[in-house]
């Protein structure tokens, strides 16, 4: 099936998808509760959308298309309140976080839907190990060319999003020493990583996608697990590196950071993306996953070494005019605070130090999600 034409969207519109954890309130392990939750939520007037994910202990929500922080944030909070209420009714905990701290992947149940069963058959244990929870942000683009330009221009900022959202320090019962252990699960997939540097949509379609399709390796864009990928049917690019934060407020702030950044990039004030930018890409990404805000980066153009924290601060200040134009200064305020207080991964580590058990860490994540 050829790649569908790139649908034109209003530039810089945005939408958010969050994969959330469903937790058993007795032992704080993941609970196969999504069929029951989906049934109950199906009876409510749910804002946005809610869908099953590959294992039954995950649920995915997505917002409508928005243009600014106020709307997006309000809708995410509304969705959060409905989820919490439904969870209360069914004795199921709902929380964020990029990975469950101690779930055992072999105990997960695959949601009974043909695509999930196929994925499970193909990837075996990877698909259950893929019980990790990410935030995806969509940014509307006017054309495929614009999408590809943004997608590649963002390469240098990917570590920002990893470090700011990181919320999966614990995985399979141990402290991984990573800020985002989740991304290590994503990298295990053969089609993960970066998109090839092609900046023209027609060329991307003919010279890359069609060839890949011909090899039989992929059938649709869905088969690529890239860090950012174009989504022609929505007319968006989709950023996929963020862990689901512990709060929806942070999810909204991250999305609006991306939006403001894209506005800045579209002003073409920076040098255009080049293949050599990707020389340092994996290294920078690793630094962000491993050390979070304390990581160091190598600038892809100048090759100077930067502290990730400093680089984010500089960028935040730099894009303030764009955020102001988009009405999302509040989002930047939120992120300044993250730089100041540490990301969700360090919050969870502090909780572990307080309570001394991973069950306690999950409990803290549950309470934080509720906004309590």
């Amino acid at each position: 099936m050829p790649l569908e034409p790139f649908k034109t969207s209003q530039s810089l519109t945005l939408g958010v998808e969050l994969e959330l954890q469903l937790v058993n309130l007795t032992d704080f392990d993941l609970a196969a509760a999504s069929p029951d939750m989906l049934h109950l939520l199906g009876r409510t007037d749910f804002p946005g959308n809610v869908t099953p994910e590959v294992t039954e202990s995950m649920i995915e929500i997505n917002t409508d298309i928005h243009t600014n922080h106020t709307e997006l944030s309000a809708q995410l909070q509304h969705i959060r309140d409905i989820l919490v209420l439904a969870g209360d009714k069914l004795n199921v905990g709902v929380c964020g976080g990029g990975a469950h701290p101690f779930q055992k992947w072999f105990e997960r149940k695959i949601f009974p839907k043909p695509r999930f069963k196929e994925v499970s058959a193909l990837y075996g244990y990877l698909s259950k190990q893929f019980t990790v929870f990410g935030q995806h942000v969509h940014i509307g683009c006017r054309s495929g060319d614009e999408a590809l330009f943004l997608l590649h221009s963002l390469n240098r900022y990917i570590p920002h999003f990893i470090a700011l959202s990181a919320s999966s320090p614990y995985y399979q019962g141990v402290d991984t020493l990573f800020n985002s252990a989740r991304l290590n699960s994503v990298f295990a997939f053969p089609l993960s990583g970066r998109a090839p540097l092609i900046l023209n949509w027609a060329e991307f379609e003919r010279h890359y996608f069609a060839k890949m399709e011909h090899t039989g390796v992929v059938k649709s864009m869905k088969d690529f697990y890239w860090d950012i990928r174009p989504k022609p049917e929505y007319g968006t690019i989709e950023l996929r590196v963020c862990d689901t934060p512990l709060t929806v407020e942070r999810a909204a702030a991250l999305a609006c950071y991306l939006q403001a950044l894209c506005r800045h990039l579209l002003s073409r004030a920076e040098a255009p993306p080049a293949e050599d930018d990707y020389l340092v890409y994996n290294y920078n990404r690793f630094q962000a996953c491993r050390f979070g805000l304390d990581g160091t980066l190598v600038h892809p153009k100048s090759h100077e070494t930067l502290l990730l924290r400093e680089d984010i601060l500089t960028t935040l200040r730099h894009i303030e005019p764009h955020a102001e134009a988009l009405g999302s200064l509040v989002a930047l305020e939120h992120l300044y605070q993250v730089i100041d207080e540490g990301n969700d991964a360090s919050y969870l580590r502090r909780k572990y130090a307080d309570v001394g058990s991973l069950e306690g860490v999950v409990d803290a994540a549950l309470n934080r999600f509720r906004g309590a």
Partner: protein, 396 residues
């Protein structure tokens, strides 16, 4: 029935009975997917003194003590899984529990009267019929590693209806004891006091044991042993002081949950210790039954089972939608509540006040218990399977 063909030394009988029950349990589970505890029940019944005579007569004694402990451990674990906050966030759960319990009581009472059972016996029978066997429910849930609304609800509903059953049972006993004076209020009051004092025993343990563990700085694996020992003491204590071990062990679990010394996966069920004692518990329960009693009470038992099933199912289904689940899951929840644990409660709640005559009138329980001990877990298992809540590796 004929005596067992070979003379077996009484000290050897129990170990061999356990081995046999375990082996048959494993085979039946693998070959025809029958819950293990159903097989334990059948083996226990066949080996009992009254039937093949393989097992020695054992009323009281160490085996009964072990069975009591096994039941105590199960109640503790059940209590640990109960989230009282759920009653507040979903009041319909509480309503469901009250309605299904009282409907069961009323329907069973009517059936008993229809079969010309005496007044007090009918009341006792009805109160015992309210309870869903926590042991059976928990064992099947663990065996199937199920998770979902049917699972959560049967755990909560069985804990609640057990407490309600013990309470009602105490009231009826009180009523009988005070019948001469006709003082119902006194009976109510007495039962309530027994229940409250027993529960506070458990609550006290629930504060003290985690406190002690925290003091020792021990939140690891040994917590299992500490909790097991505490349950043993609690059961023995409440039993000796003529209070009620059921609410005590439940309250202990509940309190321990809210004091959160978290259990790890391996310690659920009290691990191997729990599994071992379960074999003993289910063999023992069925071994107390006699063929003659079962035969005599058969038809009444069948009627009771049907009535009880209907009452529980209708009671749960009625509030299914409003409490947040589908009609279908409501029906399956009701169906999963089938297992009955009357005899354990009866044994635990040592009806020392009860005259022998009264006990004899309850022979119908023998048949009901036997039927439900075998059929009950099967019903629970299939309800969970049909609700698609079991963890089946082959499906994945």
């Amino acid at each position: 029935m004929p005596d067992f063909p070979l003379p077996i030394h009484p000290d050897l009988a129990w170990p061999f009975a356990l081995a046999l029950a375990w082996i048959i349990g494993e085979f039946a589970h693998r070959l025809i997917r029958i819950p293990r505890i159903s097989s334990y029940g059948i083996v226990g019944f066949l080996l009992a003194t009254g039937q093949s005579g393989f097992l020695p007569q054992s009323h009281g004694g160490p085996v009964m003590l072990l069975a009591n402990i096994a039941f105590g451990l199960i109640l503790f674990e059940l209590g640990y899984r109960i989230n009282l906050r759920w009653l507040r966030t979903n009041p319909w759960l509480g309503v469901t529990s009250l309605i299904e319990s009282s409907a069961t009581f009323s329907v069973v009472y009517l059936v008993a009267l229809w079969f010309d059972m005496p007044f007090i016996s009918s009341l006792l029978l009805s109160s015992l019929a309210m309870a869903t066997s926590p042991a059976a429910v928990l064992r099947v849930v663990n065996e199937q590693r199920s998770s979902g609304q049917v699972t959560e609800r049967i755990l909560h509903l069985s804990a609640f209806n057990c407490v309600l059953a013990v309470f009602t049972f105490k009231v009826v006993v009180g009523l009988w004891v005070f019948q001469s004076t006709g003082d119902i209020l006194h009976a109510l009051w007495n039962s309530l006091i027994v229940l409250l004092v027993s529960a506070s025993f458990g609550g006290l343990f629930g504060v003290a044991v985690p406190g002690l563990l925290a003091r020792i700085g021990n939140t690891g694996r040994d917590a299992t042993v500490a909790f097991a020992i505490a349950v043993i003491i609690l059961v023995a204590l409440t039993h000796t002081l003529m209070f009620s071990p059921v609410p005590a062990a439940l309250a202990f679990g509940l309190m321990a949950r809210h004091r959160r010394v978290a259990f790890s996966q391996a310690q659920q069920n009290f691990g191997a210790l729990g599994n071992l004692l379960t074999v003993l518990l289910f063999v023992f329960m069925a071994a107390t039954l006699e063929w003659q009693m079962v035969k005599d009470g058969f038809w009444l038992a069948l009627a009771l089972m049907a009535a009880r099933f209907a009452a529980k199912t209708v009671g749960v289904v009625a509030f299914a939608r409003v409490s947040g689940i589908t009609w279908r899951k409501g029906f399956l929840t009701g169906m999963a509540l089938t297992p009955l644990s009357a005899f354990v409660i009866l044994l635990l709640e040592q009806t020392r006040h009860l005259g022998i005559g009264l006990m004899d009138q309850l022979t119908v329980l023998a048949a009901t218990t036997l039927l439900l001990e075998v059929i009950g877990p099967i019903a629970t298992q299939w309800a969970l399977v049909w609700a698609k809540e079991v963890h089946n590796i082959r499906d994945n």
